[in-house]
């Protein structure tokens, strides 16, 4: 139970994204001077996570299937959000996810200019999921579907790096207490460890953005406290990596983020030697 399994095409892992699409996600939140709807924040976070995952696994000749990916929305319905060629499919090899976004937009991105500054560069930004806010918040059902998918994946990949379930939500479940359903998914395991459940909480309650808090964190929001309790403890190697990134973590830190970025989760996963610049 060490979270040390090799992640490779012959021993892939999986990501199950759950995205809250309920009416409450249309509420606005303020990030500095920027006002955005929660639905915009989570759709953007999910698209960036999928993009990061594909770029991380890209080699000459395509994206390697180190991961299988499911994207489950929950609002009026609970089900796969993948579109086009992938419509209706649950767990899909990463290469297919990369090949079939709903569309690819042109955006600009700031990159180092080599002289200590930043310069804007055009970049292609694939979009798989658009912002939606409609209906209740059937989080319990979404977690139940994640349990089924993780169980299916584990049946044929028993020695894999454990599946990661990443839930992006404002936390206001309307179909019951999500904690037992969260526990059920966390109890599933490969020979390398239990399934990891991480929660990205987008809240209009304000307060300090928090990344991977521990037991001493002061969470001022009831939903945040619930989601924190549902989240898996960060495995030791992820804590070490977070610490290297300058994030304050301790032995009680959990995979929970409050009004902040969770892109680091993708960077936590070892698929071989990292491509990093000298420091």
């Amino acid at each position: 139970m060490a979270y040390t399994a090799e992640i490779s095409r012959s021993n892939p892992s999986c990501f199950i994204f759950l995205i809250d699409q309920s009416t409450s996600m249309l509420d606005e939140i303020t990030e500095g001077e920027l006002v955005r709807r929660k639905a915009d924040v989570v759709a953007d976070a999910l698209n960036r996570l999928l993009r990061e995952l594909a770029v991380k696994c890209a080699k000459e000749g395509g994206v390697r299937d180190y991961f299988h990916v499911a994207v489950i929305g929950y609002g009026v319905h609970v089900g796969s959000l993948l579109e086009g060629e992938l419509a209706g499919r649950d767990l899909v090899p990463l290469s297919q996810v990369a090949k079939y976004p709903a569309r690819v937009e042109e955006r600009t991105k700031k990159v180092p200019d080599g002289a200590g500054g930043l310069v804007e560069q055009p970049t292609k930004f694939p979009v798989w999921v658009d912002p939606v806010g409609n209906g209740g918040t059937p989080m319990v059902e979404a977690l139940r579907q994640a349990t089924v998918l993780a169980n299916t994946f584990l049946a044929t990949n028993e020695n894999c790096f454990p599946p990661v379930v990443l839930n992006l939500t404002d936390g206001q479940a309307t179909d019951g207490d999500p904690r037992p359903a969260a526990e059920a998914v966390r109890e599933l395991a490969s020979t390398d460890g239990n399934v990891l459940l991480f929660n990205l909480h987008v809240s209009s309650e304000g307060g300090t953005p928090t990344i991977f808090p521990g037991a001493s964190a002061e969470l001022n929001d009831e939903y945040a406290r619930t989601l924190f309790s549902m989240s898996s403890p960060l495995p030791p190697h992820m804590r070490a990596y977070a610490a290297q990134q300058g994030i304050a973590v301790d032995g009680t830190s959990r995979g929970f983020v409050y009004n902040a970025d969770m892109i680091t989760v993708v960077q936590f996963l070892d698929i071989g030697t990292r491509a990093t610049d000298l420091r």
Binding site: R51, E60, G62, P112, T273
Partner: protein
Amino acid sequence: MRAFISTFAVPKAGSTNEEYEDASDVRPAAGDDAEVIGPWLAAAVADGASEAMLAGHWARHLTTTFTAAPAGQHLAATILAAATGWDAVEAEYRRVRDDAGEPIAWYEEDGLRRGAYATLVGAHLLDGRTDRQGPLLVAALGDACLFQVRDDELITAFPIDDPDEFDTRPGLAPSRPLDPAKIGEHVVARATEWRQGDQLLLASDALAQWFLAQARAGGTPWRTLSDLGTDAEIGGFAALVDGCRANGSLKNDDTTLLRIDL
């Protein structure tokens, strides 16, 4: 000097030979299992980073640039010289893809923009007062290693001598250096001496870590690597690698050995 050169390479299990991203090179050009006679010898092993695009191209470019560089040139200067040619390598790759009707996809652009990364270890051997011993100049960036064995003893392990020091974040030579001065800060070099009868082993990280772990446990991994292909119990390099991967003593990674028997 007289040196007998042998090179061995096995890709990561689950990868094809085309996906192998280590590289090795020797000058004067020796071919495989060949003897080199002359006043100097240059050898290098590089290991392209898994997460980088065109990592195998960069590893090959680094090793050939190293062996063509003058002995004693600072490794940082060699790496920067290799990086100077990188735009042309990328342009050629884009051209080949366009010609094949497979233009670069969005998920490849970030990686191509960042450039490739690789570790590198290289050695220059020069004749001294006689052709039976002389200066051995070694330099490295990252966790590819050189081992020197004399009289059945490991006398040099460079730049790493502890199997616990390997991880997935070694120092890497960049093909597009953001801060060229940083390369010099991370390069390490050592000047020592070779003698006729020595064995030099240049290895990418997985094999280097295995080698050091075996040595720390009291083993003689250099004997194992000397007897490749001649001892039926060991078999060839691929058999050794397969067996060690299966028993968990060797990480599943591209695995490369360049052996110089003096």
